[in-house]
Subunit: 207 residues, 2 copies
């Protein structure tokens, strides 16, 4: 059974909090404490965990490591996912460094750009390839997801190469929404929209 989007987001967040707890020597956590860390209700936490079939009747709360591992068994693919980033400007470099500095199952293993000054160099710890070699390199490196951090006006040109290369998941940070056929998962996350949204609700709160 495929989980709802919001549940997946929360499970990813719970797992990071649980890792923090484990690092801090905490072995057990109550649902209302986990809920408090995320600004939600204990009912929501219990509902999410019920949905993935996790139950715990201990008086001490959930076992932190057991729950973290259980969430990983739900979220993670049995084979490691290789990610490429397209567009090695400031945002691309920042995302790559930020992401690869974490100890995750997911790794950005290659970058693509059209700028001859970047191609062939190692940037933010990954080799930057020419976008012209995208389809071939995706096959060679067994890449199945991409992060798009190009300028807005070229993002649209990436749709066909991404489809042709057999990419299965796209995280798009440009302000141009990208549409893909069924079978390719896409998340469009434009920073501008996020900030305009905050601004709107601030304005509404003041009226």
């Amino acid at each position: 059974m495929t989980l709802p989007e919001k549940t997946v987001e929360r499970l990813s967040e719970y797992r990071r909090s649980l890792a923090d707890c484990a690092d801090g020597g905490i072995t057990h956590i109550f649902s209302h404490v986990l809920a408090g860390l995320h600004g939600i209700t204990a009912v929501q936490v219990r509902r999410d965990l019920m949905l993935i079939g996790f139950s715990s009747d201990t008086k001490k709360g959930y076992d932190v490591r057991v729950l973290a591992d259980f969430i990983s068994s739900i979220l993670d693919s049995p084979v490691p996912a290789n990610i490429a980033i397209i567009g090695m400007g400031h945002l691309g470099r920042a995302i790559t460094k930020y992401f690869n500095s974490k100890d995750l199952k997911l790794k950005i293993i290659a970058a693509f750009d059209v700028d001859p000054a970047k191609v062939g160099r190692e940037i933010a710890g990954v080799e930057c390839h020419d976008m012209g070699c995208f389809e071939r390199m995706v096959g060679e490196l067994d890449i199945n997801m991409v992060v798009v951090s190009t300028p807005r006006d070229v993002a649209g040109e990436l749709v066909l190469p991404i489809i042709n290369a057999g990419i299965k998941g796209v995280l798009n940070f440009t302000s141009r929404p990208l549409n893909f056929p069924r079978g390719i998962v896409v998340e469009n996350h434009d920073i501008t929209t996020m900030l305009e949204k905050v601004a709107y609700f601030v304005k509404e709160g003041e009226e």
Copy 2:
């Protein structure tokens, strides 16, 4: 009437597409064309515009500039919003450059960090202040929103200074969810969660 979150997101996206159209010399657009740009249905577009009270009975579709201006009148605050960014690492710098390079009503006008090597310098086009001066500078510069791009382990320490400074909106890019009292709008957008979510739905699609 306060609009639903998803409607606000789509309006922000429509506005950017309309600006593109206007730049390209397009004066009118049909709802199904606008919908196609965003991978949604024309019914959704018409529902969103009905919700904000925009109607157009022209045979040529919506007037691109009129609609863009109408959306701006809904989304934008009459006074310009000043934004500060906390944490001037790679991600902070990338966000600042990306954001301020666009011609938006919202501007990142100041940065805050604790690193003495950054404080007092202009980074990514904005002056970087010491986090110790945060509350005073927020008042002086009339800042009402912040973007948080610090390391995860210090994000929690920012909650009280943000509340005390009278900040009204927070866009949090760290992987630690931040909770604020009612009256402060917060959007938690962790890149890790976004990518783990794409990975999960890719995995589900393959099973």
